[in-house]
Symmetry: C2
């Protein structure tokens, strides 16, 4: 398996036994998530914004309004830390101290590069759409010139990147195993529910969401 390099930025200091640098694993954690949290120091304050992300090869992309203040700071050359987290379970131990979470997270350090050519921006936004809604992609209207202009696409390099993963049952102190309290893991997952039709879709087309979506 190909691994990302362990760099000064990405060497996991706390809980290093949970660190993982394998490319396939890092990419899978990124691809399964819709949301990342993008953090950077702005002029007058720190900022952590949730936003959609997508990936192509060793690049991560986000998009937003060209008026977004965080984006402006990133385009001024401020470094970002982008974190993606899946909460996979609540780890119920026998002692307060050993309670934990099962999770998979990825942390990326990178400066942003703006994607300027409209055709490349359009291609990348299409990639995002294919991630969000692969089955409907062919039928939705692509971004027009004006919409492309209003949208900033930022690229980040997956280079200073690491994953951190915890799985499995609680690990208690030996003397606590005899305590008469249940211990184990309560799994948590982001589940998709039944699609809700847009009321105006219903007006025009009736309830055909299952066929058409």
């Amino acid at each position: 398996m190909t691994s990302y390099p362990i760099t000064e930025r990405t060497r996991v200091k706390r809980g290093h036994e949970r660190a993982n640098y394998d490319q396939e694993i890092v990419h899978a954690i990124i691809d399964e998530a819709y949301l990342c949290h993008v953090g950077a120091q702005m002029k007058d304050r720190p900022m952590v914004q949730p936003t959609f992300h997508w990936r192509e090869g060793n690049k991560l992309y986000i998009h937003g309004s060209s008026k977004n203040a965080l984006f402006k700071s990133l385009l001024d050359g401020v470094e970002a830390c982008i974190t993606i987290t899946h909460l996979d379970g609540l780890v119920m131990a026998r002692s307060s101290f050993h309670h934990s979470a099962n999770y998979r997270s990825v942390m990326i350090f990178s400066k942003a590069k703006q994607i300027a050519p409209p055709e490349e921006k359009s291609r990348l936004l299409d990639l995002m759409m294919k991630k969000i809604t692969p089955d409907r992609f062919d039928d939705i209207r692509s971004a027009n010139e004006q919409e492309l202009k209003a949208t900033t696409v930022l690229e980040f390099s997956l280079q200073d990147v690491s994953a951190k993963i915890r799985t499995g049952p609680p690990v208690d102190d030996e003397e606590d195993y005899s305590l008469p309290v249940w211990a184990g893991v309560i799994p948590t997952t982001l589940e998709k529910g039944k699609p809700l039709d847009d009321p105006r879709w219903l007006d025009d087309h009736g309830d055909k969401s299952q066929e058409i979506k």
Copy 2:
């Protein structure tokens, strides 16, 4: 309803129609989530870390190892931005541009205050346990002196705080409503699965998780 003040820090600039400062709403978003993303500028890099959080009144708390590098920066007086995000749905529009997410997020700007007195630390960690596992709280072993020493509890003020919320169907350009593509919302929720017994619990007690948990 009581509201948090709109401050220079918390006035939502982009998408201000989604902004919300109502205390009940802000608190509900915070309390429903297990994970927040804590961001701050460290000496040599920005940092965004996922961690458990809990709340009492107008204070938010996180805890971690006293050796955590981000915590050290926060204790040096660096301001944090803490963001909590619930992804509630994927908003499927008729055009690429109007795809969106339904979400509820809270953003907090605050410096950290360390909770020093062991008995106060212990009380606050118990509060966290009551959030994570209210039914098992009475039966788990509380933190002992050594565990308390190894744990740092940080307090943040809910003052420069705002919520941002999007709900409802897609909003498309009028001319796109006739496109023959399904539109609506795919709801997403963090669901809890069936509890998984710790193998060592099974050895000692058999499968009684449903009774005892």
